[in-house]
């Protein structure tokens, strides 16, 4: 630059070159601040000052651009961080808190809040908020309702003059609110607000919309997860109940005789029984026992209701009958006594129908009493079928003191008894027709003089053919007893 030009700092201290002769002095500025001076001949000074000011302006632009890029970089980073955080969260409260924290790092706010709607059309509830005083958005917020309905984000920079009267529900100056849209559904709203006068911009709105998208997806995930947890819990509870029912059914079956023939040394009678439980635990039961060498007791019954209570009531009833019968009482005395015990131990509104018969295996005399149970059949050796349809009494466990009347039939050798529960006659097919007393009677006749086990097998086959795969709704219980030898008259 020779001796025609020089550069000074802002204070006038020479930094470079020198000048002489006619002089000119021009400033070099950077963002409004004078960095220094160019001095020298007017033409050289003007050229160099223009060049240096151009460089300064370029640097200013570069800095502004770098600042803008850094701002965007920070936004992208925070949104990425939010995305990562939200993916790992399955709790609604944690999702809301995390979303508000990150949103507040990007958008200045004194208050923030998230309301969600767990089911379409359901009520809104707050899952997260920050800021002093009451939560930013009440669940009944008209702004939130409006955002939800329109599905579009909104800025209100002067709540006090908003025509919807937002001032009454919000104690802030400006608010920015966006819908939380997941797939086709809006699951809630997110809002940030300021109590100072700083307005929100469309850039803020765009940013909040981006955060809202991430948040909505995380909220939907959390809701789905919650539903799945509930479903698993329900399934686990169902499995536990099913296990209890299975246990109850096992107990129920263990309470009735299972070994046949029950008295292998006794050739003077033949007997078989079977019980097929419905899916739910039912209350059917049967029993038989020798009171002495000449007297065989047989019992069949059905407790009202199903499930574990019915099974327990059945167990009590069966035990009471056997205990009382073994005292040698007549069937009517026995059922009278058992009824009294059950009424006094009354459990809810449960009761049991029951038939108790006492066979003198030597004479063929069969004494019995029927407490409201299906009347048994006698299949004579001749093929004739008789229903033992005599009066007995009311079912056990209902009212105390009612009389029970006994009956008697005489069995001849090869005559058979058939006892059953209503699960047999009322078994239904897919057209919901009953197997019926008539079909049962025909089946018993058809079984003729077969051994007792075969009679029950035959009837079971008939039942299965009739029901044709329709679900079994009640326990099916049958007992068959045949007198084999010629009895000896009592005299």
């Amino acid at each position: 630059m020779g001796g025609n030009i020089g550069i000074e700092d802002a204070t006038g201290k020479p930094l470079l070159g020198s000048f002489s002769g006619e002089s000119s002095r021009l400033p070099v500025t950077f963002e409004g601040v004078t960095l220094g001076w160019v001095t020298g001949s007017p033409s050289a000074t003007a050229a160099l000052a223009t060049l240096l000011n151009h460089f300064a302006a370029r640097e200013s632009e570069r800095r502004a651009l770098a600042g803008e890029v850094l701002h965007l970089y920070r936004e992208v980073h925070l949104i990425e961080q939010l995305s990562e955080q939200l993916t790992a969260l399955l709790d609604l409260g944690a999702v809301g808190t995390s979303a508000l924290e990150q949103a507040n790092r990007l958008i200045a706010a004194s208050h923030g809040g998230i309301l969600i709607m767990e089911e379409p059309g359901g009520p809104l509830r707050s899952v997260a908020c920050f800021g002093p005083g009451a939560p930013l958005l009440p669940a009944t917020s008209s702004l939130a309702a409006s955002i939800l309905e329109r599905g579009i984000a909104e800025i209100v920079n002067d709540c006090a003059s908003d025509p919807r009267g937002l001032a009454s529900e919000l104690s802030v100056h400006s608010i920015i609110c966006a819908p939380l849209r997941a797939k086709q559904r809006t699951v809630g709203v997110i809002a940030l607000a300021n109590t100072n006068g700083n307005p929100y911009t469309t850039a803020d709105l765009k940013l909040l919309n981006t955060i809202a998208l991430q948040t909505a997806a995380a909220i939907e995930n959390a809701l789905l997860c919650s539903e799945m947890v509930d479903a698993v819990r329900d399934r686990a509870q169902l499995a536990a109940i099913q296990k209890e029912l299975d246990t109850a059914r096992t107990i129920q079956h263990s309470l009735v005789p299972r070994i046949f023939p029950p008295f292998p040394e006794r050739t003077d009678f033949d007997m078989h029984a079977q019980m097929t439980s419905a899916r739910a635990v039912g209350g059917d039961f049967f029993d038989f026992f020798l009171i002495d060498s000449d007297h065989l007791g047989v019992v069949i019954g059905d407790v009202s209701g199903k499930g574990i209570p019915a099974a327990l009531y059945m167990a009590v009833t069966r035990t009471q009958i056997k205990t009382t019968a073994l005292q040698g009482k007549s069937p009517e005395e026995c059922l009278f006594d058992v009824n009294r015990v059950l009424v006094r131990e009354k459990v809810s509104s449960m009761f049991a129908t029951c038939f108790y018969g006492l066979l003198n295996t030597r004479t063929g005399e069969f004494r019995f009493c029927n407490a409201g149970h299906n009347p048994p059949y006698v299949l004579r050796a001749s093929g004739e079928l008789e229903s033992i349809d005599l009066a007995g009494g009311i079912p056990l466990g209902l009212f105390e003191g009612r009389p029970y009347t006994g009956g008697v039939v005489q069995l001849a050798p090869n005559d058979a008894l058939f006892l059953y529960t209503d699960g047999v006659s009322e078994a239904t097919n897919n057209a919901l027709d009953d197997f019926s007393d008539e079909r049962l009677a025909a089946s018993i006749r058809a079984a003729g003089s077969l051994p007792c086990r075969d009679i029950l097998d035959c009837i079971t086959r008939e039942l299965l053919a009739f029901t044709d795969g329709a679900p079994q709704s009640d326990d099916i219980t049958m007992l068959s007893l045949r007198l084999n030898h010629r009895y000896e008259p009592m005299n």
Binding site: R63, A66, G67, V69, L70, Y73, R74, V76, H77, E80, Q81
Partner: protein, 124 residues
């Protein structure tokens, strides 16, 4: 005067880190830059910065080699070195430890965390 050296072969990342740390200039911190490993070593020898943000994957000399030279060969163990490694690229932590790096951070970096770390190292 405290000095920070920013070493990255990608100009836009150098610019971003510089912009992030710009406010430290008000505290009298000088920001220096280098665009490869060799240039970084030369600047470190001449300027002896207090803190170096050092990219790992660079041409000529990678970050591990630069760090190893500074910490173990040039006797400048007092210079705080933070390795910068791209997220998603497998980073050999053990190697970073062996060459004496003080810390490593992932890119894309969190500007606030980067600034906070620089302040903490420089005691500002």
């Amino acid at each position: 005067m405290k000095k920070i050296l920013i070493v990255d072969d990608e100009p836009h990342l150098r610019m971003l880190i510089q912009q992030t740390l710009e406010e430290l200039e008000d505290d009298g911190v000088e920001l220096l830059t280098a665009s490869n490993g060799e240039e970084a070593l030369e600047t470190i020898r001449e300027q002896q910065p207090n803190l170096v943000f050092l990219d790992v994957m660079m041409p000529k000399k990678n970050g591990f080699d630069v760090c190893n030279s500074v910490k173990n060969e040039l006797g400048m163990g007092h210079i705080h070195i933070i390795l910068l490694t791209a997220k998603g690229q497998e980073f050999d932590r053990q190697r970073g430890q062996e060459v004496g790096a003080d810390l490593y951070m992932t890119k894309p970096f969190d500007p606030d965390a980067l600034l906070e770390k620089a302040r903490s190292v420089l005691g500002l």
